[in-house]
Subunit: 422 residues, 2 copies
């Protein structure tokens, strides 16, 4: 039997646009891992009547309802009361969870901040499975009623996501029979409509496995998904599809399930026992930040310099001041010197240099916003990619980092890297 | 008359958890600016039947329906067809928009990537207001039918958000009469339940203006909102509430509507004509990245060093190797030396040093994950904050950067900064 889940996220802050709904994304990802379909997400405010109406709609179109948010200690937190009422369950005080809440505050030496409203969190629906919260005070829970399974999780992503993985996933895994396996095919350097045009016939023809595109911050991805009795069977069904995509898109396919370009680069560096350092100007540390988001990054990433002010390019990286004077700070020559400089100062095998104009305004050079030079330096030589990345500060910065990582990826896999100079 | 909007985001990639729904957040924020209530967000896949059912529900509970996504050139893009059908409108080929699409590809020298499916995007509902897309090919549009206004926008945030601001906002602004004004009160260093306990009576008592809490990545915020005939009247109603919050929470209130700690720090540095540089270890460039997210950051931020590998702390920042050997790389002493070193190397007025263990695993020191030292160095002395930030790599990194910025904020506003040493 196939299950269908609906995620109801509760919180006026979501409807006011104060925060983004990452919980719904993360839970959806995990549900797709275990083959549970998600057809709708609903977001509703801290309003019991509207939450009730959302639940009434959801129970007609899903047999698993997952709520996030509204389990906390404040007077706005009404999810448990509303769901329990909708499914005819009483709330009962859970002494064990109350004790856990007491200990949470004691461990953090914050007993003076522990107010009585915290114990409201220990009121749980009768007969439920309790999901203990290892990262906060509000417990989650699950119960079954009228053929629907209701799971409630706290809103803060740092509590919701670990709880979903460690408590809700095992609870739900038992419900699924057929295996659904997916792979993401990661592409860099081709537009979405170009990719679709090359593969439209394949996409329309395929039913199981399926092939579908999606765009994500300057990259295009394809997802291939198969349903079968076993994982092995599903894999065998997907292999020829992946091969077909590779043959049609060539080396713009940079990885399967690698999640991000930085992941691919991290894996390649580790495998080849090489190290990287980066000198960033317009990207202001974004490359460093993305690479060090990965646990274990210190094995391959020695560090970087954010040389935002012009003099710091000379002081920290040794870029000759006359080179800056003659070519301008946003130039292929300065990018190359930054890459070489950071490689030498940090003693890494590879160095990246990025200089450009992220906007919103241009600088004294008058070059258009989006002009960026990305350089790669290795012991054997180096290359510079000259880019026109359009408007939008975030977009320009993200794309510049993607291009830098793509150059490293190409270098490490033996593909041509722009004009390589020795 | 008060208007109620519902945002329907269309895209299977949202339900698979491949991307997060930032469009709904950004649009909600803009709608709240002009006093349009949002009671629900719905996310639905690229499936005409389910989209139709979501529209049928939405038109019963909202008089403005805003869709995002599904306007592109691929075979999955079915929003226009579905909405037009639901409201009895024909789709008509718009020659002007078709020409714009042609020019979009020509300008980018990508005519060879322009495939016929792109012209599907120029099919628009009869009698609609066209929203031209300055950042992509798919136009948006708005029409009115059966007392409901339907607005359709493309999915990619870099297209959706600018289009909403420049086209949909003027279109919607005419509908709103009463002014709704909000202020966000930003707090650092107090827990959500502590803040709520201090202010619960006020929150429950207030009807107009209202006061409500929300937590955001390690910070607590309060939002005060007033409805009135004029902006001035609304402001006058909110002033005493803001004053009450300030008096109850003291200097943990770091700003009103400043959006982020980095914004506050940026403003203070600019005002006082001071500069900053940062040396980061466990935060890996996150502080640099956050500060340089702000346009104009180069006026106050000279740059930084990401000294991820231990030797780079000496090589780049001049931290004495024997200091590292005797105190350990994660220590108050090394943090202070990093802050001093980066200040001297970059020639900035203030320097930040961050060293710690972001996890998931500890290092050879065996210190618990979440141990972080954050140092501030100024010409007049410096201070180190010793922190235990718990588990979770992202959470630890974010909190460490927040604490660093909070120290700068306190220093620049004359508040006590931990134990200041001359």
């Amino acid at each position: 039997m196939t299950h269908t889940a609906e995620i109801i996220s509760v919180g006026t802050e979501l409807l006011l646009g104060n925060i983004v709904n990452t919980d719904a994304m993360d839970i959806s990802q995990m549900l797709s891992e275990i083959g549970i379909n998600v057809y709708f997400h609903t977001v509703v405010g801290d309003n019991p009547e509207r939450l009730k109406s959302a639940v009434a709609i959801a129970r007609e179109r899903a047999d698993i309802i997952i709520t996030t948010g509204g389990l906390g200690p404040t007077c706005d937190d009404l999810t448990k009361q509303t769901l329990a009422e909708a499914f005819g369950k009483k709330l009962i005080f859970d002494e064990h969870e109350a004790q856990e809440i007491r200990e949470y505050f004691e461990k953090r030496l914050r007993s003076h901040q522990m107010t009585d409203n915290n114990f409201q969190q220990a009121m749980l629906p009768e007969g439920c499975v309790v999901f203990h919260n290892d990262h906060g005070t509000a417990p989650g829970c699950a119960f079954e009623a009228d053929g629907v399974r209701v799971l409630m999780l706290p809103g803060p992503p740092s509590e919701c996501v670990p709880m979903f993985r460690s408590c809700a996933m095992p609870y739900l895994r038992r419900l699924s029979t057929l295996e659904i396996v997916s792979h993401n095919i990661h592409i860099f350097g081709l537009g979405e409509s170009y990719v679709e045009d090359k593969l439209r016939d394949t996409m329309l023809r395929l039913k199981n496995p399926t092939l579908a595109p999606y765009a994500k911050s300057g990259e295009v991805r394809l997802r291939v998904t198969a349903m079968a009795e076993t994982d092995g069977e599903a894999e065998a069904m997907m292999a020829p599809v992946i091969a077909e995509v590779r043959s049609k898109l060539g080396n713009c396919v940079y990885g399967i399930d690698t999640d991000t370009l930085e992941n691919t680069v991290f894996g390649l560096l580790k495998q080849q026992n090489l190290t990287l350092a980066a000198a960033e100007s317009c990207t202001g540390g974004l490359l460093s930040k993305r690479v060090t988001d990965l646990p274990g990054a210190s094995q391959v990433y020695l560090g970087g310099a954010v040389t935002y002010a012009v003099p710091s390019k000379s002081a920290i990286l040794g870029v000759p001041a006359d080179l800056i004077a003659s070519h301008g700070v946003v130039s292929a020559e300065v990018a190359a010197a930054m890459a070489r400089g950071v490689r030498e100062r940090f003693g890494s095998d590879l160095g990246i240099g990025i200089t450009g104009i992220a906007g919103p305004d241009t600088d004294e050079s008058g070059l258009p916003v989006g002009t960026v030079y990305v350089a790669l330096s290795a012991g054997t030589g180096g290359a510079v990619r000259s880019l026109h990345l359009g408007q939008g500060r975030d977009r320009v910065r993200t794309a510049a980092v993607n291009h830098a990582l793509d150059m490293v990826r190409r270098y490490l896999t033996g593909l041509p890297v722009d004009q390589w100079e020795k």
